[in-house]
Amino acid sequence: MTATKSFGDALIEAIPNLRAFAHSLSGDAQLSNDLVQETLLKAWTHKDSFVPDSNLKAWLFTILRNTYFTHYRKSQREELDEDHAAMNASVPPAQLTHLEFEDMQRALMRLSPDHREALLLITAEGFSYEDAARVCGCAVGTMKSRVNRARSKLLEEMSGQSDEGAPGEGEEPSKSSSGL
């Protein structure tokens, strides 16, 4: 952040990426807006704990993913609909056809949450492995492994080779344990 940019301006600037991450992670357009709203409120409430010129984006992403996994654990108890993503997909993209967009989102939602967030942070958001590992509270090697597995699984899903039906592979999503 520069001296001329307020904390609010910085938050507004981050919203598009936060929405993209939240939507891709949750597969739900409405939920993603709720997650972003909650993230913004938490960030504002605790803005004094953020040091200017440090990595605001990573800080916000960490809050968002922890908020999502809190929600995910609750919703797991209510059994998430397997086709949540497709039903709640937002407006079809200009770059991909509607079908491609839905296929991609559906395939993404069949990854475990840990693998999905790893792939999103590295491949879509462009985080370094080190920063992504910090956001997720895991080791760099674990992050690399997750991305590699996620790519393989996604390729299987997209080519119709996967015979594993349930999203998440029964894995429990992790939460950064040291605060953010």
Binding site: Q37, W44, S49, T62, N66, S90, A124
Partner: protein, 79 residues
Amino acid sequence: MQHRLDTPEDCKRTDGELPEPERQPESEAAKPPVAQLPGFAAQLIGQRMRAMYDTIAQEPVPEDLLELIRQLEAKERSK
């Protein structure tokens, strides 16, 4: 949309730095290694992922999110 104003552990760091990784790989370490995908396959997945992601990122920001920030700023100014 609900406004939750609780104080989670999510934001309590005081230095603004990223948290140190504490959780060690558990299930990942137990799994057999996965072979690296060919470059073109990883590239294809990357292109598709970014296309989907960028599409969402380029959507107009909902007015209520912008309004939320404005309200928070206005509330702070009025203090």
